[in-house]
Assembly symmetry: C2
Homo-oligomer: 496 residues x 2
Amino acid sequence: MDAYRALEKRFTRLSAVNDAIGILDWDSQTMMPAGAAAGRAEQTATLRVIAHELLTDPHLGDQLGEAETTGGLEPWQAANLREMRRLYLHATAVPADLVDAASRTASACEMAWRSAKPASDFDGLRPLLQAVLDTQREIAAAKAAALGCGPYDALLDAYEPAGRSAEIAAVFDDLAIFLVDFLPRVLDYQASRPAVLPLSGPFDLEAQRQLGLLAMRAIGFDFQRGRLDVSLHPFCGGAEQDVRLTTRYEEDNFTRALMGVMHETGHALYEQGRPETWRGQPVGAARGMAMHESQSLIVEMQAGRGRAFLGFLAPVAAATFGGAGPAWTADNLARIFTQVRRSLIRVDADEVTYPAHVILRFRLEKAMIEGDLALADLPGAWNDGMAALLGVVPPDHRRGCLQDIHWPGGAWGYFPTYTLGAMIAAQLFDTAQGAEPDLVASLGRGDFSPLRRWLERHVHAQGSFYPTPALLTEATGRPLDVAVFKRHLERRYLDA
Amino acid sequence: MDAYRALEKRFTRLSAVNDAIGILDWDSQTMMPAGAAAGRAEQTATLRVIAHELLTDPHLGDQLGEAETTGGLEPWQAANLREMRRLYLHATAVPADLVDAASRTASACEMAWRSAKPASDFDGLRPLLQAVLDTQREIAAAKAAALGCGPYDALLDAYEPAGRSAEIAAVFDDLAIFLVDFLPRVLDYQASRPAVLPLSGPFDLEAQRQLGLLAMRAIGFDFQRGRLDVSLHPFCGGAEQDVRLTTRYEEDNFTRALMGVMHETGHALYEQGRPETWRGQPVGAARGMAMHESQSLIVEMQAGRGRAFLGFLAPVAAATFGGAGPAWTADNLARIFTQVRRSLIRVDADEVTYPAHVILRFRLEKAMIEGDLALADLPGAWNDGMAALLGVVPPDHRRGCLQDIHWPGGAWGYFPTYTLGAMIAAQLFDTAQGAEPDLVASLGRGDFSPLRRWLERHVHAQGSFYPTPALLTEATGRPLDVAVFKRHLERRYLDA
């Protein structure tokens, strides 16, 4: 037990350093004066090096080996040890100079992307993007050897532990076939329905903030352990027990900020609901990015854009902004919140087309990491994929393969978690509805507590005790079932 | 040179960790939700342990020894090495378990003090305060051995490097004799002058904030590298290149917050003016707390409450709050800002009585550290000292020896820096006026730039290159001269 106890102590320290980084990152996007950027970069880089040193210390490897052979652990301790080993493997699999090279190439490429994107200059960015891809492929090879999996799965594992791209590909292929048929049917159906009445602003920014705070309270955000602020790019960050989420307000549209706040609040509930007794320990952390995204989407998409909650929201929103008339009814709000379009841009995409964007990126990044697609062929492959999946072709790279920060920024293997999260959200919501008969009626009163309680018990408080598939099976009685997501889409978008 | 270069690298890392702590501390007093306090304490404690480990690493001792014997350093590098040695001595002089005990007794005592103070319960607090005193005496003995000085000086050294209490005692005795005679003369003189006309509020808080920002801009605060926020206890903190200062607004009085902002802005200018090329290095840091306090007092007391600047401020303040009439003239503002009273409370004291409060505390804490005054005898000694120095006796301990956080919180040896700072401020301002003929006239236009430029060159950009006495002599041509401070008081408070 000594070795295990020493490991817990070490990871408590690591968690404190990572929490400090989380608050500093939040600060740099919300509060920090511009001239402090260089100093802040130095601070967070130093803390990241310290965290990396804590995690690659040879003593840690010895202690892991000793704790693993000694045994005698309770189930949660054993799961904690398993997660420690995983983190250690990821940290030690990649040589320090490759970690450094990856960080530098990604920084340089992301910086260049900020101007290459508006200029649609794929050829200009290509050398830097190739350098990022090359280092990612090296990292993938190193991690694949350590983890005993394929190179793409080795990258995926950092975001979705033990995720397997072969299984994801099968599910995504199934979903892609469904969507190609489904999308035109939805568009036809929506064209046959009453037109969407626009909500006209301007919408006072302070009123928008108040409405967001009201939604957060309704959802159950604990303001004793978190805050809402403003940043250019909304996110949910901060530290354990101190969850900081952000949004961005626009005067001519309040729905984007409102749904954004609800989305981030879903992430925040997960963080706030992590198991108390495992604070600072790997097993107490949230279970991967797919499950995390499921928590934001269950709040935003499953509950937030559902007819019941919009029945509560419509009069509140009307009172907040002094709106009146048919545009402010729950019916019209529902039409606004479920409008489907053949879109070019992922982040602006609706619930129906978003998975197609993700499936395309998953296929392309997997092919590039595995050497089956050259970077020079990316634009063509992108446009072919868009035509096949969404029936539109980007007129330029800005609205095509240059639109996302992920690849220039070095986040390869992340994309599939968005749509895995959407499917998991549908499945969890479906089960929760059955288990909590009052759930939907409560949403109609702006009360998320039955949903929240169910999620707390079955997801949040489970931390990283189970791998994702087992967690989903424990919660819903079965593994990932794409049929539930399809049924959700059919009900919502075809009134079927 | 290799050893010296390695030391610079090590101290750059230490500085980044300390800067991170600075931002986290700022956050905990301005932004942090209440429920995050325990986690934050864990984060900052962890980073402080990491900083302490960096500073007590045996390799550091070896590198210091090697760099010191090798020589061949430029003067600023040599001064940097001298400061590194000083920090290393302080960090290694005290055994780890004593550091830990001091931190724990001070935390416990400070916590108990928060309720003992309002209850005037000296006897109740005494056991915990005794424990703090005991650990401070142990630390003093350990540091005295390492630094080769007396025990009180060893504590003082942490705040005022190389400060010597024998010299301070001589200056303070001189000043005390002056003040005992001076105070009744000032009170008589002020009684013979036109009565102070009160400014009546309420004063809009946002207007107060705008006035504070205006003053900060006038003084020359760089908002690209700092911010102004609100906290319960105002302070100037943050990081190098990211100076965060705070204030607290009261609806019925705008002058306290305004003068507080100007005071903290004086501290901030010092931080923002540190030498660029020595960023992250000990020699680039501000030169001790006495010099730091001089920078806040030169802005608040010497310039801010001077007749010239008040001539600028009066119409601006009147316009800000819609004030009019004789209460809003510069003459009346000057009377408000220089009102003298026999006060019981240090933090509310005026420029004339403040030094008496400090001299009392200096004498008492020195006697307690050196074993010449038992804690049980503190209340009596306090009241005797108040009667002798200020002619008033506290009716209870709340307004007596329990009023300050310093002793319960473990900051022994800090008090004298307040009045050393006041004297240095007077001397610097006197010299600056002579060197910059336009300085006072500029303050009358709300323009601090001649003063700021002079301070930047002669104080801020000097970092810790010189010890304090040498820095003062370089700047003003002579060592600390209490006569300059006395003359300042006579001019301002007796129109002499």
